[in-house]
Structures are given as C-alpha cells and as structure tokens.
C-alpha cells in the first residue's frame, strides 16, 4: 500500500516527506526506508501512480538530443569550446560543424564560427564523465544572426513551450515574432519591430516568474491581446 502525503502542486523543499509505501517516482525524489523525500525546492506532482518533484530553479544539466543555444568561447585548430549555460562546457568538433569535410590545412576554424558567435546546436552525447559533445551539421542548426537572446531558468523552458507548443506558438502569433527556445534556458527572439520583441520578452519573463501557478496560458493571452488593443487605439 502506498500513501501520498501531499496535495498535487504543493511547493516542497529538500527533505519533505512526499509519500510512504510503494510508488513509482521520478526526478527530485529519493527513497529512504519506506519514505519518499524531496531533494529540491519544487512543485510536487502526483499523477496517480507516479510522483515527481519539478525543480523550480537550478543549472541546466545537458541531455543528449536537446537543442541548446550556445556561445563560442574558444576556437581550437579543429574544434570549438562552447558555453551552454551548464556546469560543463560543450565541445564541437570540426567534422560535426559543417556538412563539408573539414581540412585543417586549408580551412580556418575561425571562418566557420568565431569567438562570441551565438549558435544553435544539438547535444549528441553527455555522460558526466566527459564534456558534452554538440553538432551543428543538421538542418536548422548553426549560427544565429540578429535578434535578441534572453536567459531564463532552464527548469521553466517546458512551461514556456507549453503542452505541444501551445504557449510558445501563442506568443509567436500574438507578438508576430520568431522565437527559438533552447533547452538550456536561452531564448532567441526576432521580430520585425523592436516593440514586438520587447513584448515577447515581457511575456516570457512573466511565464518564468509565474511558472508554478495555474491558468497561465489564459493570463498571457489576456496580457498580449490587451497590448494589441491599446496599439489600435
């Protein structure tokens, strides 16, 4: 028999007892004896036969398959070191950078990506014993030109995207901007007008701040459509 001790969506802190007995459990939880304890400050989620604690803060931990926005901090002869906002720097090898084969004698790594460039990359491997490896030779990946970058808590990215992208598509539509969300908490925004970009940034910041509340999509929609009405007047 199992017993859940808390209500769904309760805010828990490290060491809080969540449940007793036998439950399937996910991230943010450890089992000691018969009890399940929270390990982070977060939102308790009770999905019937499965419990987990969604952290509300914390550094991004790389996972293979994630799309992340990184900044080149070092250029080697055949590789780049990239800051992806995690505790570990990512490595991009020249062979994974472009579709063409890279010849260190003829080609100059700096011509492809230079220090300070912002790139959209995909993580292909990470196991904590070695630094994460990223690639840019797939469709849609590579240097990001123009636009703005904002940084939010990586833990809140799923909330910004919403279920099947509802939230982010709504923000894109109502602010008429292009938005790329990196799993590491960096978001790239480009619009035709500066006001549009600022409006998108404002709504994303609001999503971040109120990520642990309910009915957020409606509030954001109200906020953005209100702005639109003001403009027409």
């Amino acid at each position: 028999m199992s017993k859940i001790a808390l209500e769904n969506h309760a805010i828990v802190i490290p060491g809080d007892i969540l449940a007793e007995g036998n439950v399937r459990y996910g991230e943010g939880i450890i089992k000691r004896g018969d009890y399940y304890y929270s390990t982070v400050v977060g939102l308790f989620q009770d999905k019937g036969d499965f419990i987990q604690v969604k952290s509300l803060k914390g550094k991004y931990v790389p996972r293979s398959g994630d799309l992340v926005i990184g900044k080149i901090i070092e250029v080697g002869l055949t590789n780049w070191i990239i800051d992806i906002g995690s505790p570990y720097f990512a490595v991009l090898l020249a062979n994974n950078a472009t579709e063409k084969k890279f010849d260190p004698v003829k080609d100059d790594a700096r011509r492809i990506f230079n220090v300070g460039d912002i790139i959209l990359t995909k993580i292909v491997s990470f196991d904590r014993t070695r630094d994460p490896q990223v690639i840019t030779n797939e469709r849609g990946l590579g240097k990001l030109r123009g636009g703005r970058i904002i940084e939010i808590e990586a833990a809140h990215i799923p909330r910004v995207i919403g279920k099947k992208g509802t939230m982010i598509n709504m923000v894109k539509r109502l602010t008429r901007t292009q938005i790329i969300t990196g799993q590491n908490g960096r978001i790239w925004i480009q619009g035709k007008k500066k006001e549009d970009e600022l409006k998108a940034i404002e709504s994303i910041k609001k999503i971040e701040l109120e990520a642990h509340t309910q009915g957020l999509t409606d509030r954001i929609r109200d906020m953005l459509s209100e702005n639109n009405n003001n403009e027409i007047r």
Binding site: I11, P14, A19, G28, V41, Q214
Partner: protein
C-alpha cells in the same frame, strides 16, 4: 578558553542579560533571493547578526586539477566585514575565518548530493555584515537555505545553533558577551530530516551532564530554526501564487482552486513540524502526517532518554559513526589545549 566564568551573566530573576530565558532563541528572520546575480542567496538576521549567503554553481572549477572526478567540490568563503565588529577587523582572511569556512563546507558536503555534478565546484560566499556572537551557526543556517534556493539537490536542510555554559547554567544561542565571558560553548549543526549531526565543536569545560543537556537544548533550538528555514523557502513561491490570484482578472472558478493549495500547505507545515520530534526518538523513521498531531505529546517525553544516549557515546568513543560530516572536529572536545589559538583569534576579531 572562553571567560573564567566570574562575570555575572544571569540576573536575580533568572533571566539572561538581554532578557531571554535559558532556552530562548534570539529573533530570527531569513530572506531568500536577496542577490540578483547569484544562483541562490539568503540573508539571515539572528539577533544582531546580519549575514548574507550567496551560492554560485555548480560551475567549472579553476584550477582544474583540484576538481574531484566523481563529485562536486563545495568551497566556502566565510568573511567578516571590517565594520562587522567593534574594533575594525583586518580584511585579511584570519585563521578563524579559514577554520569556519572549512567546517561549514564539510557540514554542507554531508547533505548535498555532490555526486550529481562531478568535476564541478559549488561556491558558497558568506559575508558577515554585523557580528554578535554565533556567526558560524547563523552562517551555516543561511548557507543551507541559499543552496536549496540555488536548486541544488540536497538530503535536507541544516539548521544550526550554539548552546553554551554561563555561570554554570546551560543556555541556548549565546550572543557576544555570553560567548566571550561565559565558560564554554558548543556550536551544533543539525539536520532534522536525517536526524544527523553535521557539525559539533566544543570550547570550554563541560561536565558530561552539562554537555548532554546542552546538546539536547541545541537540537530543540535547531528544530525551531528549521521551521523558519522551511517557511522562508516556501513563502517565496507562495507569495507569487497569492499575487497572481489577487491581481489577475480571473473568474471566481479559477481563483478557488488556487486558494486551496495555500491552505493545504499550512496544514502540511504544521504536520511536518511534528516530525522532527519523532525523528529524534527513533532514528529516521518519521511517521506520515494525517493524524499525528495528538500522538507527539506522549512521544516527546521520551525524547530526553533517546538523546542522552547519543552524546554519551559521542564523548566516550572519538570517531562516532553517527556524526558523519566532521569526525575531525571531535578531537577538540577531548583535547582541551587545542582550541586555544582559535579563541585568541576570536577575541582579536571581536
């Protein structure tokens, strides 16, 4: 050694010089997220102490050769501001500051899942803005809250408070004068969730009975502090929730479900308050809430017995397995000469 014990620190009414009872803590307040640029931060005010804790990381460690291959390194930097004490403190890190930095980082290492972030460092900066005795305990309390605020996975929070001996009476939470003129103090770091002691030091001469009483009193005090830590962390997010449900123009249907969770959180925190008491009795086997509000009363009475056993062993056998974090400190309890250089520093600092 601390003072010679000749200074009268207890008045005729049986109160301490600042008007507190023997088992009374100073007023404590903890604020979370006071620094914008740190990954996690906390400010603690404990009586006249003001300390800011900032946590950065986990992040890359430089120089790289100091990184541990299998876990994160926790680096603490305890610093007293030059203006934090009556006589200007020299800004150079003193022996005392290095010692406190070390004991705090060791205590924190015992509760953080360092193995989740190998090859990295977690930096904890503790800046004492105003000192009034017991800063190492207040710093540890603030540091563990700041770590939780940074989203770092932990087994539980550490609450810390000192017990001491003044005029042959065991008292809780020494302040400046009691620290200097009293005849001994025992800083304690305690994790109520695990029922584990992660820091004990001892300075002065205690009888076995006095030490046991002191430890018991400090554990009780630390449990009180733990409730304040817990509330501070929860309030940060509960406040945003409350704001949202008030100012957003929403239908009543939506507002209602939002208020319910708040009420429930209060119930939970009450229920959880009871746990630590039980936890002291039988190691880490707290019961799950629902009813326990009535039960604890009977159980609390057994508390003293259970606690008495602990210190006895702690004094007799030096490397006690239960005191996981800091076996290194314990020798201090036995070797009375050792603390001397440290105390001199303490006096200088003050």
């Amino acid at each position: 050694m601390a003072g010679d014990g000749t200074v009268q620190l207890i008045d005729e009414k049986g109160k301490r010089l600042d008007g507190r009872n023997f088992d009374e803590l100073r007023p404590i307040s903890i604020k979370i997220g006071v620094l914008e640029n740190a990954d996690g931060s906390a400010e603690i005010r404990m009586g006249n102490n003001i300390i800011i804790a900032a946590v950065y990381g986990p992040r890359e460690l430089h120089p790289k050769h100091r990184a541990l291959p299998d876990r994160a390194l926790i680096q603490c930097f305890y610093r007293m501001s030059t203006f934090s004490v009556n006589d200007r403190k020299s800004p150079a890190p003193s022996r005392r500051e290095k010692e406190i930095s070390m004991i705090i980082s060791n205590a924190l290492t015992s509760v953080v899942f360092t193995e989740k972030y190998p090859r990295t460092t977690i930096d904890v900066y503790l800046q004492v803005l105003q000192a009034d005795g017991g800063t190492r305990c207040a710093s540890l309390t603030a540091a563990s809250v700041a770590l939780a605020d940074a989203g770092i996975p932990m087994r539980g929070l550490i609450a810390s408070v000192a017990g001491g001996l003044i005029n042959d009476k065991v008292v809780l939470d020494l302040y400046d004068i009691e620290d200097q003129k009293g005849s001994g103090d025992v800083p304690l770091g305690y994790c109520p969730v695990l029922d584990e002691i992660s820091l004990v030091q001892l300075d002065g001469v205690f009888t076995l009975e006095q030490f046991e009483e002191c430890l018991k009193l400090s554990i009780k005090g630390a449990t009180e502090i733990y409730d304040i830590q817990k509330k501070a962390l929860q309030d940060k997010y509960a406040a945003i929730r409350a704001d949202v449900s008030v100012d957003a123009k929403e239908t009543k249907k939506e507002v209602k479900p939002k208020e319910e969770p708040k009420a429930e959180i209060k119930e939970e925190s009450q229920a959880v308050k009871e746990e630590p008491k039980e936890a002291i009795k039988v190691a880490p086997k707290p019961e799950i809430k629902a009813k326990p509000k009535e039960e604890p009363k009977t159980e609390v009475k057994e508390e003293p017995q259970a606690v008495k056993e602990e210190p006895k062993e702690a004094v007799k056998v030096a490397p006690k397995p239960e005191i996981k974090a800091k076996p290194k400190e314990e020798p201090k309890a036995e070797v009375k000469e050792e603390p001397q250089p440290e105390i001199k520093d303490e006096k200088e600092a003050k």
